[in-house]
Symmetry: C2
Subunit: 481 residues, 2 copies
Amino acid sequence: MNWGHMAGLLGLLFLFIGLSMLFPLGFSLYYRDAGLAPLLWSSSIVIFIGFLLHFLFRKQKAAGISHREGMFIVASAWICSSLMGSLPFMLGGFMTPTDAIFESFSGFTTTGASILNNIEELPPGIIMWRSFTHWLGGMGIIVLSLAILPFLGVGGMQLYKAEVSGPSPDKLKPRIRDTAMILWKVYVFFTLVLIVLLLLGGLNFFDSLCQTFGTVATGGFSNKNASIAHFDSAYVDWVITGFMFLCGISFALHYKLLTGKVCDVWKSPELRFFSLVGASLILIATIFTYIYSYDSFTQALRYSSFQIISIITSTGFVTYDYLLWPALIQVILLFCMFMGGCAGSTAGGIKCMRIMLLLKLAYRELFRIVHPHAVRQVKMGKILVKDDVLNGVVGFIIIYLNLMIISSLLIAAMGVDLVTSLTSVLACISNIGPGFGQVGPASNYSLLPDPAKWLLSLCMVLGRLEIYTIIVLMIPEFWKK
Amino acid sequence: MNWGHMAGLLGLLFLFIGLSMLFPLGFSLYYRDAGLAPLLWSSSIVIFIGFLLHFLFRKQKAAGISHREGMFIVASAWICSSLMGSLPFMLGGFMTPTDAIFESFSGFTTTGASILNNIEELPPGIIMWRSFTHWLGGMGIIVLSLAILPFLGVGGMQLYKAEVSGPSPDKLKPRIRDTAMILWKVYVFFTLVLIVLLLLGGLNFFDSLCQTFGTVATGGFSNKNASIAHFDSAYVDWVITGFMFLCGISFALHYKLLTGKVCDVWKSPELRFFSLVGASLILIATIFTYIYSYDSFTQALRYSSFQIISIITSTGFVTYDYLLWPALIQVILLFCMFMGGCAGSTAGGIKCMRIMLLLKLAYRELFRIVHPHAVRQVKMGKILVKDDVLNGVVGFIIIYLNLMIISSLLIAAMGVDLVTSLTSVLACISNIGPGFGQVGPASNYSLLPDPAKWLLSLCMVLGRLEIYTIIVLMIPEFWKK
């Protein structure tokens, strides 16, 4: 491992994070709030560390990034960003160090789990930084899942690895830069459109920005205690539902769509699956909430659509306390937390791509039992899925479930009840936000013990980085020459 | 499919079930109870149908049993036995038809889930039949999992398929008979030893028989409302704990043990894994219950050992309401419900063998990411595990989880709460018995709506027959020539 090169790259990241803090600082200046000093200090510290690292190690020669270095830099990037991102919360005394780190991890991993009981009492600059971490995290994750992870042999987009030319380490760098630029354009475009639409819906500029960052990153932080329910507007609900859905779809498809290849997009098996599952679940939820919870069909449709899409895309916005809904909807939402959106989007969870491959694998086994001598290949659309991709998906699921088991055992050992232990881990590892029990939609993570918050922060980053990226760092063999 | 031959075989099964009813009938005669007439009628009806089928189709020629016929006969055997077995409950008016069928399915699948609020008010003959269905079901499942399913390419013992010679259909019949005889001897031996041990513990003959049938079949029906807690004896608890553990181990290993191959037995990777997991969980549970629930360490050890072994072997006996224990133990018990015992035992669940293979698969993936060009094979002990066995295990898990999802959605749609919906399905598909929430250890399945009882009966038989055996029957292709 070329440590100097790694440090130099992290230096650049620190510079970027430090400079990003100037954006909320602008709001602090405008509102003359209590966030000014903490943001200024944080920004200065992070920029200083960034400069130091960058200048100390800028002369390091590097012929591209190796496989191992790629893993290391991705994991460090998220962990360092989240740690640096917690400084403004901590320095201003707005939160305890543990809470600040939890909140920052939740922001950069676009989880949206919060420990804040009263968000609205925070200075606007700090609120803006909290929401902005989502936007930065979302930006990172799109590039990560579409440009970096496939080359490292990790993540749901592996399937498409075959479509781009060979993963030579030398060519990795320029291609990542090109791909990133295209994807970011789409992301910025969505952001701008949503801001305008929310302004048209009567939200002020500040509120529009916060909800937009929470939506396009499928994060879930709102600047209101009541989340999106605060605005109590059908227009806002529908606009945000639409954009959560859009941002739960692969950004590679969006790029195709914006360049006019509409036909290609609709042929995507993952998009079809995602839309079909989403639509079916909304239909069921609408019928059940119409019968048991609402007077009008349009209300049932509006609240059901919002909540199903919010959970399935791992956003975690709330317009109604779903623990009050019929049991069926709760079970549906619970399973949605496992599923997540499409690979290559800002959504978390297992991802539709993997769920589809697993279902196809299971069907192949049934087929084999009926026809013991027939050979059947797993296909995704017209692409033949290779065995090592399938093994990767199976391995992912097993490790994902095992991490959930171990983490919930640890949290239960801290005295947290069964339902809360299980769903807090699920909601964090799938980057959702709200769970069930004590971490339900009407409450938050503030009551959990401190060690649980640390563990859940780790879960968030594990889930966000497709698990393998962090897990391999814990294997001693990874560090051997 | 040779329907005549199938009907003839089912005729033999009916004769066997009908004659088995004479055993509880003896108790009814002795106690002169209200179960006499229903048992006599049921026995006569079942024996009559058996004779009819057997004599009508006895002239059917058959050159062995085909793969498809094997699947069909196994599934029909369990379903027919359970339906016939419900007759004594129904005819005596002791239960509604739905409840009777649920109770009988629960018996023959050795699940132990009950709808009875007051077991002790039933006539002794009927109680004995209820417990005896466990013993019959356990007898069937040992032969099924060790002699029949491996040849059909289904089940956890597939791995050992390579060790016995080729699965030629002609040789299937005599080998099954030989294997069955050996296994049954072990089963009967365990039964006799446990009866004697319980008699020595001060239980009367009737109670000894009922607890023994519930234990050796890892079923969980007791003739007491308070389950094993009724006897309130450390001796009884430990004896039953020991026998539940023994019966959670592959009966193929027991046979080896009884023939003196002790070394072979201890080398079994599955047994080591099962013992290690069991011991670790007991240790953790003992420490936590000692701190939070009991005054003495021996008490904590006794109750923890009993409950962990009861759930991990899918027995479902209860000596303490585990919903009152610390959250950690509840989470442990929940995950134990997924795991189950060893393949080739009377235990249900996913089985240790499969869990081990999945963990090895996951480790192989991690290894592949660290060493992208290295090839690593999955081994179980010294046996190289073939890819089609691994695929079978992965397919099993996916279908298992999907069935759980679909079933709990359906049960939640009937208005049952989240925790009860999820854990009732888990407890039935894994053949455990008690779950959490409304179906917790201190309550039972009586409050669930009738359609839920039907669905859960299906889950029990699906879980018991390693899922594939029932699922393939639902695939139209299976029925085509």
